[in-house]
Subunit: 340 residues, 2 copies
């Protein structure tokens, strides 16, 4: 029962709506597009006429005239498991959408599976051909997108969830090093003598660097390093390995909530108590972390603020491209054993 | 450093690309839009020229010519907390996006906060004005969208995550009654003598009906009913109430995974053991349920299949609108105490 609007063959025009509502064509336009105030009762009459006639103002035509589609796109890259299984990414999509909507922009979303840079560039060109006003890119760290190549597509872009891109450009990220340093300081302060690291992170990654440096500074053993996939299952595997060790670490710093949820699950399976046997601290501060058991102590990324900043960069591009770092906050719950 | 494509004031045309790549304009079109095979090396040359020149084929113009934007929209309604905090909804968005992309359609996503039907209708008209080819609506049960009003907007639509709409129309949902009956049967079969219900569901809701009917049929006490918000926190509150009872039920059926995750959290807080003291069974079978502790026994909704069916209904509308029900499957994990 999919009925198309319109009557007969001719499509409904703004003039038809005006006639039905007993107003001028300009008032129809003001009601639908803003530009001048319209009395509430008048607006209601116009909207009623729009619905009754099935009027669809043609935004494609409007875009050709104005040069703007009032549309943004959010492009993510699926890693080992689907992007939305990472609670922090789901939160990002939601926040970008809200930020776009509150500024009058619609949002395309797309996630490309696994595949490398070529696939992402192809998606970006597809959105460019749809005349979007800008693209928020949430790429995985392995992707190494090239700012020059991105620029060549000719659509404004901003990278989020990233460190400063080697080639410059607009990018936004949380203070990973600062946040991890605070989290590690919290563990050290509470007397844990050995702290492990769980996550897929190269030596230079800021969270991994903070783990090593804080341990070194305080004479705490930085070991072992569980180099596992950035997934729930990766975290679970690390926990199973940990439970098998003859002398497990007293605490672990986990690179993300998604991975940490797998760690908790694995430790429960093996009867290892959190935090009594092993304390756990994590990064992201997602919704899930609050309802985990025990509640995850985690470094909260300010997703809403970062999403809003990303959208603003696209709508009102700054003179000079730059990397913007957002401060983070340690949220102390039960898993670190230091909440009392 | 947001550079716009193009050279000087004139915008780049397909002919410019053809010239740079040393091919005909038709080959440029075939490469970008399909329609005829293009040799891989030729295609690469074309794509290189596209990138170098910053060519953006104008889809707005193309849409005006063809009458199709090859675009769908996914419209959700946020309830008490943000939509993406419900893992099953996040999974839905992802699955619809994948289904749309694999059929060559881009996807808008939007979630409207709380607000009732008027707000949803406004969003729908906004997408209609963007000339989308169809809209997938994931509305909350309280919304009671009117198929006739939806039809009046003049854009193909399909409701998902729903029972049959009272006024007809295209809709898709899982077999809630059948699934809940199997889950309840599983609990009864394992000898639980009293089974509670957790969730925000009216008396006629299929899961709540199945709970009552299966209990009645087997002489099992159907009590208590925890009428709480459809959120993690709602589930947690139910658990705190349950732990306070002098004679708590031996098992609970929870209306969704999101709520069940809150139930688990609340029971842990109170030192109530799952499944030893209270068995828990749930509905949805989301990613989170597998990594909960203990793992949630849950009725799995076939999200991917339902999302693909929804997209197909929009792209190739059936002659007659109808409600399509998808079968579900009980996934047995630890929380029901009957996995061994």
């Amino acid at each position: 029962m999919v009925r198309q609007g319109g009557r007969g063959g001719r499509s409904v025009t703004r003039r038809d709506v005006a006639e039905r509502a007993g107003v001028s064509a300009a008032v129809v336009s003001y009601t639908l597009n803003g530009g001048a105030p319209v009395a509430p009762e008048t607006a209601q009459r116009v909207l009623k006429a729009v619905a009754e006639l099935g009027y669809r103002p043609n935004q494609a035509a409007r875009a050709l005239r104005s040069g703007s589609t009032r549309t943004l796109a959010f492009l993510t890259v699926d890693a080992d498991d689907a992007i939305f299984t990472n609670p922090i990414f789901a939160e990002y999509v939601h926040a970008v959408q809200r930020a776009a909507a509150s500024r009058g922009y619609a949002l395309y979303t797309a996630s490309t599976p696994g595949g490398g840079r070529a696939r992402t560039m192809q998606e970006l060109r597809e959105f460019a051909s749809r005349q979007v006003d800008g693209v928020v890119l949430l790429a995985s760290s392995e992707q190494q997108l090239d700012p020059a190549e991105l620029d060549a597509v000719g659509v404004p872009w901003v990278l989020v969830n990233t460190e400063e891109a080697p080639g410059g450009g607009n990018s936004i990220g949380a203070d990973l090093f600062g946040g991890a340093t605070v989290a590690m300081g919290h563990l050290v302060e509470h007397g844990y003598s050995s702290i492990g690291f769980v996550g897929d992170a190269p030596r230079s990654e800021p969270r991994r660097r903070a783990w090593r440096e804080v341990c070194a500074e305080h004479g705490v053993e930085a070991s072992p390093l569980f180099d596992v996939d950035f997934t729930r299952e990766g975290g679970r595997q690390a926990a199973l390995e940990l439970a098998d060790l003859s002398s497990p670490p007293r605490a672990v710093f986990v690179v993300s909530d998604r991975t940490a949820l797998g760690v908790l699950r694995g430790l429960h399976e093996c009867g290892v108590r959190v935090p009594e046997d092993v304390a756990v601290i994590s990064f992201d501060g997602s919704w899930e972390s609050a309802y985990a058991w025990p509640g995850l102590t985690s470094v909260r990324q300010p997703i809403e603020e970062m999403a809003a900043a990303a959208v603003d960069r696209l709508i009102s591009p700054p003179e000079e491209a730059s990397h913007q770092v957002f401060p983070v906050e340690l949220i102390v719950r039960e898993s670190c054993g230091a909440h009392a």
